[in-house]
Symmetry: C2
Subunit: 225 residues, 2 copies
């Protein structure tokens, strides 16, 4: 059975008073409209001028399309991340990455007024906004890195931290090589080659193309031929 919106918000909202916490969770859950999306399905309707949304399960990619057909992924949203924190920019599109991606959407104003009544809700939005800036800045550093090799390693490290499936040693990548390539701004072939090279060097192991075991944790830090 998959996690309910209430479960997630109970996890996300922090407050010392358990009663108020339960009330806030109930209020948020009541305001939420849940949507289920399947793979590569656009879910722009879920955000917009009047809408803000939160990923319950699965993953959502935020991206732009260049005139030449190039896709540039700017962010990957997973459980607990919010879509459309700022005003909607029509230049960006949202798509579910995997089947069974679930999203809770809210009326922006309604969520704001909930934030006034329950400070911990406003605080959650605030926290997610800050976290989003942090994530963008980090990704900018990754994008700026010189070699494709370093980009891929940094990406794996980042994913390891964000997903942390079991003990942090193994990551089940939620995305394809194409997604990684379009997120890092390099070619799919380069991603694949780099992964193979890392595997050969013993830095990682690939049980399946998506299942990455990170052996050499220090690999994330420095450059090497």
């Amino acid at each position: 059975m998959s996690e309910t919106a209430s479960d997630l918000f109970y996890f996300l909202l922090h407050n010392s008073d358990p009663r108020e916490r339960r009330e806030a969770v109930a209020a948020v859950a009541a305001a939420a409209r849940e949507t289920r999306c399947h793979r590569n399905q656009p879910c722009n309707s879920v955000v917009g001028r009047h809408c803000i949304a939160c990923v319950l399960s699965g993953a959502v990619r935020k991206f732009a399309l260049r005139s030449n057909g190039q896709r540039q992924i700017v962010d990957l949203l997973i459980r607990g991340d919010f879509l459309g924190l700022g005003p909607a920019d029509p230049g960006f599109l949202f798509e579910a990455v995997s089947n069974g991606t679930r999203v809770a959407s809210f009326n922006r104003q309604r969520l704001n007024s909930l934030g006034v009544r329950f400070p911990m809700i406003a605080e959650l939005i605030q926290r997610c906004t800050i976290e989003r800036i942090r994530r963008l800045e980090r990704h900018l550093l990754i994008q700026g890195r010189i070699t494709a090799n370093e980009k891929v390693r940094a990406y794996l490290a980042e994913m390891g931290e964000r997903i942390a499936s079991n003990g942090g040693q193994a990551v089940e990548l939620p995305v394809t090589r194409y997604d990684i390539a379009d997120h890092l701004g390099i070619a799919v072939e380069t991603v694949s080659r780099t992964m193979t090279a890392l595997k050969r060097r013993g830095c990682i192991a690939l049980r399946t193309p998506r299942h990455v075991e990170i052996h050499d944790t220090s690999m994330l830090s420095e450059s090497s031929a």
Copy 2:
């Protein structure tokens, strides 16, 4: 005579009630501690766990240093931009870009409580945060997979919008070629070459290396050999 902190905040704070606006401006100005920095001077002391700051004049670069000495600029802050919106990350450094850069710094908590008393102040911070996300996302698109040529053109276009000196046709770049290179993640020589190529093609004119007149506005949109 240079603009005072009060002048700037009067410009930044929006409110229908002029009396309250003046009060808010006075309160903010009273809470500000002004610092003057010269070229390449670190101004980390001005932000931090307890500090948040606003650029009054000049410009500040936010950047990270890699272990190999590479400098990666993640943001350029100009008049009216805030430094340290999120909690301070020791991985990032701040430096004044030009002489006579002036910065107003605040105690974080004090500014927060001012935000409670004057909603327009909280709203200003909110607006700057959103704007910062927008800027980071845009820059991420620039950093993404496009040619160095496109990067430089997009950078000039972005700067044109942000600075808009006279009518938007000419830009006085606040930064060196080195800064541009470290912001775009390309080599200085490439920046220089690209600029020269754009000049030769008549897209831009360079009265001085820093003074760029943008002739062909459409140059920002599409690719071309």
